[in-house]
Symmetry: C2
DNA sequence: GCTAGACTATGACGGCCGTTATAGCCAGTG
DNA sequence: CACTGGCTATAACGGCCGTCATAGTCTAGC
């Protein structure tokens, strides 16, 4: 019992992240999110008074923090270890869900915002990408990469992994992840001057 | 008048591709697709008797063929030229739509399929990715890359570009595309032994 | 025990969804 | 001219949507 059982609020956020990662934001209804978390519909508007946007925003941040935690931990062993952890994390999600789930941050990123304002969830998605890139770029710099090279490579890694996960879902195969992993691993090893 | 004015059917397919690339499949209604193409709702079910799935499938194939055409043409000048054309094509879409549209193939790829079958549109998305990868890989092999290296690199390029486009939308900036472009260009030049 | 405040239960609101059915128009062929 | 077949127009079907309102239940602190 080192971990307290999650509150209803936490269950809703985690469940929302899962459902958004499967169907996208617009296609996920608040009723389904509530049911998925075994919470009453009224509770979602109690915990998230700003409605769907707030819930989506928290789901994005929840996923962002979860991945960043894993990334931070594994990057202690170097950029290649971090990359492999990043890849394995997404590979696990894709395989465990039989190619039905992906990344909720990506899902939120590709929904058209209204003309007049930028939704909070989209801003959160941008921040999450920025955080992941920052972690990778920092580790690359620490291991000898030039700052600009590190920034470019970090962006490439995040983008490639996100895109690869989507391709794996379409093809119902992990082969794209295998190929991307090999290329990125070699690229990082070169960038940090491993020989 | 070298090009005949598009038929209503073509307008619907092209419009559907555009709308799916903005909002995702589930969030795009048939009524809106019809209105966007200035076609009556009844016509969509006349031209596409199998409904939304058929329309989505044709939209994916339409985009796939359009991109493949551009890719084939530019790859004649070598893999780097092909990469730059691929990047510029998506950059144009993202910029021209003020970061509101992306790739409809990616959008279709990240929608959860029903438990019992795989939707036609998802199969089409997998085929389109395969086609783009094949074109790139073929050009890389022709310019001296090892077959396995070519296949891996082609997958990385497609995945990275798709992911980068999504990141650009979230950040409302083309900087991710600039970074990814630089990294991929260098990578391809190395792979084909340019010096 | 009592009360305040956190949470739940329930139902309603207008609105859009995918799909189907049916009747009408209107070109082109004979 | 009639008429056929491609296309349109219109309405309807059941169903789910996001959101809000209201009344009920439960628990913690006095």
């Amino acid at each position: 019992m080192s971990k307290p059982s999650p509150t209803a609020r936490e269950r809703i956020v985690a469940g929302a992240a899962d459902m958004i990662s499967r169907r996208g934001l617009n296609a996920t209804s608040i009723r389904e999110m509530a049911k998925h978390a075994k919470a009453p519909l009224g509770s979602t508007y109690h915990y998230f008074p700003d409605g769907k946007q707030q819930l989506a925003t928290e789901a994005v941040r929840f996923t962002g923090a979860w991945v960043a935690r894993s990334l931070r931990k594994e990057l202690a062993a170097g950029p290649v270890a971090g990359l492999l952890a990043f890849l394995d994390l997404w590979r696990g999600i894709v395989v465990d869900t039989d190619f039905r789930a992906g990344c909720p941050v990506l899902a939120v990123s590709i929904e058209e915002p209204p003309v007049d304002e930028t939704p909070a969830a989209l801003l959160a998605a941008a921040e999450v990408f920025e955080e992941w890139e920052g972690l990778l770029a920092g580790s690359l710099r620490e291991h000898g990469a030039e700052p600009e090279q590190a920034a470019q490579l970090a962006t490439l890694v995040v983008a490639a992994v996100e895109g690869t996960v989507a391709m794996c879902r379409a093809k119902r195969s992990t082969e794209p992840l295998d190929r991307t992993a090999e290329q990125l691993r070699a690229l990082i090893e070169t960038a940090i001057g491993k020989r």
